[in-house]
């Protein structure tokens, strides 16, 4: 009897929770539909819980306030089947355009979008220029126009910090296509700067996509090169490589990271982090959105190119991290990386003289340039 009662209570709780949740989502929907937006843009990302996903959502919400657009967010898995299913579901929901985070199953995705008469863009990476369609607005180089320059920037900082024995860790090339260019830029610049031949850069240790894989890579570097005093971590530098170093037998190794999280400030204050960096989420979404919105209004840049580019934000001081928080990811996006008014100036829908190049220039501004613009 007791068991029956317990089971009944559990069932009632589950049903109640379901009804409450359904009610919450229903309220949200009815609120947004009453705004009568003209265009709906679907967004496909792996998650909206990390800083990248959160910021992309927040910036999209900001765009909703300033353009006649509504965003429909879908979480997709990393497999091709998941990606295509996610895209199909968005197309079936009636979106007018899609911002995909990734170039997964690109040819088939573009083909599906084309068949549905929906514009498609990739926002977190460069795309294969052989894939073309009237409905494909291209991709974005997230490490700036030339990834080698980003590598060189890290090299200059490593040289200035005085480190002499540098290991490199990275995700495999097939998954991180910009890695070879960034590494080349780094090693070339070290050679240029190190005229005395005092600095050694060791061969790259590639690792897979779990934290323990990064631990293995760091351990291998320390075992092979016990004198190592810095690591350039390209594969989730802050989330994977930094904890791996701190938990290793040489926690005093200094880090140059492609990556950002809340530990960066403390790491820079105690000197364990020389440099870190992250995507400029606002610039990425702004670049894709501007092009899609123009296409939806029947306008296309005469100087359009398939791959645009945005600046990759880097920090070398605590002050720069504060600037990043204030000028790239502020709560109030009208003080952020790209404001709606700035964006409209580079969009043909609002400015007949706008060019694709002017959009790239706007979305390739450095942290210092954005800060100067806001002050």
């Amino acid at each position: 009897m007791k068991q029956k009662k317990w089971m009944f209570n559990l069932l009632a709780f589950i049903l109640l929770a379901g009804v409450v949740l359904a009610g919450c989502s229903g309220e949200k929907d009815s609120g947004s539909s009453s705004e009568q937006k003209d265009f709906t843009i679907g967004v496909m990302l792996y998650n909206y819980t990390d800083i990248q996903g959160q910021q992309i959502k927040e910036y999209s919400a900001y765009l909703e306030q300033h353009f006649n657009v509504k965003f429909n967010f879908a979480t997709v898995g990393s497999s091709e089947e998941d990606h295509i299913s996610g895209l199909e579901n968005l197309l079936a929901s009636g979106v007018d355009a899609v911002i995909s985070g990734y170039d997964t199953a690109l040819e088939q995705s573009v083909s599906l979008a084309e068949e549905a008469g929906v514009y498609y863009s990739v926002t977190l990476g460069e795309v294969d220029e052989a894939i073309t369609s009237d409905y494909f607005v291209g991709g974005i180089k997230q490490f700036g126009e030339d990834p080698q320059q980003l590598g060189a920037k890290y090299a200059k900082q490593a040289y200035a910090a005085g480190v002499k024995h540098i290991g490199i860790t990275s995700f495999p090339e097939f998954a991180f296509v910009d890695a070879p260019a960034i590494i080349k830029g780094f090693t070339d610049e070290i050679k240029n700067l190190d005229t005395a031949g005092e600095i050694t850069v060791y061969p790259t240790e590639y690792h897979s996509f779990a934290p323990e894989n990064a631990v293995d890579a760091v351990t291998k570097i320390i075992s092979n090169y016990p004198e190592v005093d810095a690591i350039f971590g390209l594969g989730s530098g802050m989330d994977f490589v930094y904890p791996a170093i701190l938990n290793s037998t040489k926690p005093d190794i200094r880090l140059l990271a492609l990556g950002y999280n809340d530990s960066v400030t403390a790491g820079m204050e105690n000197g364990s982090i020389i440099m870190a960096g992250t995507n400029n989420y606002g610039e990425l979404v702004a670049n894709s959105f501007a092009q899609l919105y123009d296409r939806l209004n029947g306008k296309a840049y005469s100087d359009w190119q398939q791959n645009g580019y945005v600046n990759y934000v880097t920090f070398t001081t605590v002050e720069e991290i504060e600037d990043f928080k204030n000028y790239v990811i502020p709560k109030d996006k009208s003080n952020g990386a790209v404001t709606a008014e700035e964006l409209k100036q580079t969009m043909l829908s609002f400015n007949d003289r706008a060019t694709w190049e002017s959009l790239q220039k706007l979305t390739n501004r450095t942290l210092a340039e954005i800060k100067a613009e806001r002050n």
Binding site: D29, N72, E81
Partner: protein
């Protein structure tokens, strides 16, 4: 008499009713929430395209799960089979040869799986874990050492298979009917259920336990191989992520369809059909409605928990002693 028979019928078919009620509930709820867009021509085609892959694998897995087996290698085997199919077709072989190559690889994986399990008395889930690592490892190695993307150079015919409604519907019907007949009207299905209920009793009753498992895995292998071609017809490319998570999708779909994961006499082929549709419609509907992504997993989890909870309330008399 008839008054008495209705409650009796409900009690007797409780699990079946729950599985169909779940599907009906999902369909009605999302049809209302999408103002009927769920049942639009475009979306029905979308659902069918997504259904064909999951359903094909699920039918195969019913044979494995019904005798108490468990497989978590389906996603990795799909990736490996698809990769072999791409290399075969790109080398100039006809599509049929590519399909056969994919099926051969898949069947081989499942044969190794069941032989390891049978020979060493390993739990099926452990041997399938090993197959998953090996298959995923082979694909990852090949993708990481390949200078170009592993993709079909000519997507023409396969693309048609993945997008042609008559072909997709034919495949769903064919797989469903053949699967149903084999499972419910031949020794393989009946023996599988008997093993799922009580392997010792089944063995003492003359059921060839190891042989039945072997055939069940072979059937699963054929269907996973076919599913790899259907998946390839949708993406035309293989990466280290191909098929990732598919094994979990199948398990969730089967549970939603009322399949008892420890198998036995209550196993039904309809679980594959009902579960696959419920799962696909659920995912499709949540995006169609525009549910915030933060709560999508939670809603899925609640529905899953609800179904499991209802199915767990199986009358004691229905469970055979082991």
């Amino acid at each position: 008499m008839s008054e008495l028979s209705i409650p009796l019928f409900i009690k007797k078919n409780q699990n079946t009713l729950i599985q169909y009620a779940g599907l009906l509930l999902v369909l009605i709820a999302f049809t209302v929430m999408t103002d009927g867009a769920l049942l639009s021509d475009f979306n029905i085609r979308t659902i069918l395209k997504q259904l064909v892959v999951l359903f094909t694998i699920s039918v195969g897995m019913v044979f494995v799960f019904s005798h108490g087996g468990m497989d978590i290698s389906a996603g990795a085997v799909i990736a490996l089979s698809s990769m072999v199919a791409i290399y075969t077709i790109n080398a100039g072989a006809p599509l049929a040869v590519g399909v056969l190559a994919a099926i051969a690889v898949s069947v081989a994986c499942y044969m190794v799986n069941v032989i390891i399990s049978n020979l060493f008395g390993l739990m099926a889930v452990i041997s399938s874990l090993a197959i998953m690592f090996v298959a995923r490892g082979l694909v990852t190695y090949q993708v990481s050492t390949s200078s170009a993307k592993i993709a079909l150079t000519d997507t023409g015919v396969l693309r048609e298979i993945g997008r042609s409604m008559p072909i997709i519907i034919t495949i769903i019907v064919l797989v469903g009917v053949v699967g149903y007949v084999i499972f419910h009207f031949t020794k393989i299905g009946k023996h599988s259920k008997a093993i799922g209920d009580n392997p010792l009793a089944a063995s003492q009753s003359g059921v060839r336990v190891k042989y039945t498992k072997l055939i069940s895995y072979a059937i699963a292998g054929v269907l996973v191989g076919c599913a790899s071609i259907l998946s390839l017809s949708r993406s035309a490319v293989v990466s280290e992520n191909t098929g990732m998570g598919m094994e979990m999708d199948v398990i969730v779909a089967l549970v939603l369809g009322g399949m008892a994961l420890n198998g036995g006499s209550r196993s039904k082929m309809s679980s594959a059909f009902v579960g696959s549709i419920t799962y696909v419609v659920l995912n499709n509907g949540l995006v169609m409605v525009g549910v915030a992504p933060e709560v999508v997993s939670l809603i899925r989890g609640i529905i899953f928990l609800l179904v499991v909870f209802l199915l767990l309330r199986r009358p004691r008399g229905e469970v055979m002693p082991r």
